[in-house]
Symmetry: C2
Subunit: 184 residues, 2 copies
């Protein structure tokens, strides 16, 4: 899957894309966008795993993991053209497609499919963000772990425990204990 086939599948059109898509290959540990950068692209992951993380009081907080078939970006920075407070890092070797800011912004002026895509992506990040905020306010760590296991098993299966713990906002030892309790 790539951006063109994602659009075809989601919106049922195979008209040519009215913006440029750039291909990149990055090695494991490469930082795609760093804290302080202004985000220049929206990315689509074609292979590999990417994490989005931020620093709070010097500690790393993992905000999300991305798998092939997902879009990602330091989206607040992309929209506001201000410095990002999040970084995007390759957890494995990755191949991605990038839609540059200026190309997208130009296409937004006249292109139906580009606006459909932009609206759809923004709705998706809005819902993900509000759901995560709500989960942290209303659910225990155990509940959040069980739901992660049900809804996004690829995170539990493919990401190392200390990173999953940082994503759930708990100590790695607490997560190991939870895993044992649930597996017995």
């Amino acid at each position: 899957m790539n951006i063109a086939s994602y659009i075809q599948h989601t919106f049922g059109t195979n008209e040519p894309l009215p913006f440029e898509v750039k291909q990149h290959s990055f090695a494991k540990k490469h930082i795609i966008t760093n804290i302080g950068d202004v985000e220049q692209n929206i990315y689509y992951l074609t292979s590999g795993i990417v994490e989005a993380a931020m620093l709070k009081d010097g500690d790393e907080r993992i905000v999300d993991f991305f798998f092939p078939g997902q879009f990602f970006a330091a989206y607040t920075s992309f929209l506001t053209r201000k410095a990002a407070d999040v970084y995007l890092r390759c957890l494995t070797d990755c191949t991605i497609e990038a839609m540059p800011y200026q190309h997208l912004t130009d296409a937004y002026k006249t292109s139906l499919i580009t606006n459909q895509l932009g609206r759809h992506l923004t709705e998706t990040v809005y819902l993900a963000r509000t759901q995560r905020e709500k989960d942290f306010l209303t659910k225990s760590a155990e509940q959040r772990y069980i739901e992660l296991l049900q809804n996004r098993p690829e995170i539990i299966e493919q990401i190392q425990v200390n990173k999953v713990a940082k994503y759930l906002g708990i100590h790695p030892e607490s997560l190991s204990r939870l895993r044992k309790e649930i597996n017995t």
Copy 2:
């Protein structure tokens, strides 16, 4: 200002709107959307003030205030078609315009301007939500009050103190103390 003139002003087009807009007048205290409802519209406020609030452990938390010229909705419910966890209430007599869900969704399939509007509104709520979340994590109540005074003075001027306190997440007495300190 109304939805048609907002679109004309923001996107520089005066083509006829490809969706229905319904006019409503509501009395003070009317609840436009309640907790448990599925949101049926996106609203545009033409006159009056509306608050969006939720309940946490039985206490009211005010999430936002809307003034004329702003769009609002229980947007997560609108997008997911699930029960709202927020309510929208008129703080004064209000006149609003409403864009019904089915009309918008149909127009999204073919209309450039409707997708431009939907993308723009979603970007706006996304940025407002992430900014508010960040403010609560990183700024003191005093900082948040000072920024409210600078950025949205209409809230301080037109909304009663106990509601502003619920919006800032502090006790009304703390807010009164802050106001005195800042005014002296």
